[in-house]
Amino acid sequence: MDEHIRKVYVPMTETAFYILLCLQKQNHGYGITAMVETMTNGQIHIAPGTMYGTLAKMEKDGLIRLIKEENKRRIYTITSLGSTILDMEIRRIHRLYQNSKGEIAL
């Protein structure tokens, strides 16, 4: 994997994490924001400028890809590179969580 991509995305912003997580199922910008709001009980709202910019960057970096455009809405899905990055990030967050409980991360 490209070392640069790994450096940019691990660790990643909360916005990037939720977008990748949601795109394990195909979705469009506002659909992701709505999904994240439900998942976090309204605590996290991803605004449109942030959503558009992050999707554009992730597509350029090959973490997600455009499947189709439906009623002017761009529908994206995660790529295998995106999945690898997401797994690395989940393991990192899991380690943080274990350490916060005073456990040794294995």
Binding site: P48, G53, K72, R73
Partner: protein
């Protein structure tokens, strides 16, 4: 009674907040933004005084990208009014906003916007300035200008460039401080 009007106001790139605030006040006085013809020239039409929130984004887009971009903002309730040189003006009635709703929800994406501005504005400006300086100094070789005049103009141009760069730097600072 007049139903449209044109107002002139000049805002630098560092004044986006002030521009948004001014447009909101115009709507409260019954003037809704219709178009920005050229930097600083705003065209309004008469409406019932309303509280409308305006937001600006800078994102140079191809015609193909623009439809999807407009649709995404529309999904969030933001209506695009007009675009000018990569700037997009959005509006949403305050009654539909959750407080002081903004277009960016994290620091990184705000910094990305300033970086787009630097790429789209500051870099071309540097190019233009280099060309101007080459012309100024070339003209001294052909007796068009004395060395003193060329030196004076060079200093003037560099001061303008320095002040512009300072505005961008202040914008970075402002983003970091507000988070």
């Amino acid at each position: 009674m007049k139903t449209t009007k044109i107002a002139f106001r000049y805002y630098t790139i560092n004044d986006v907040d002030a521009e948004e605030h001014w447009l909101r006040n115009m709507a409260k006085q019954g003037w809704m933004l219709d178009h920005v013809y050229f930097p600083g020239f705003y065209h309004f039409y008469a409406i019932e005084p309303t509280d409308i929130i305006y937001r600006l984004d800078y994102h140079p887009l191809s015609t193909k990208q623009k439809n999807a971009y407009i649709q995404m903002y529309a999904d969030y309730g933001w209506t695009m009014i007009t675009s000018l040189f990569g700037y997009h003006y959005f509006q949403k009635p305050a009654a539909l906003c959750h407080g002081e709703e903004t277009l960016f929800s994290d620091t990184l994406s705000k910094i990305d916007m300033v970086n787009r501005l630097i790429q789209g504005r500051l870099v071309p400006l540097c190019g233009v300035i280099i060309i101007i300086l080459v012309f100024i100094w070339a003209s001294t070789l052909f007796d068009g200008m004395t060395i003193e005049e060329a030196l004076g103009l060079t200093i003037f141009v560099l001061v303008v460039l320095f002040l512009t760069a300072l505005l961008f730097f202040m914008q970075y600072r402002q983003i970091h401080r507000s988070h």
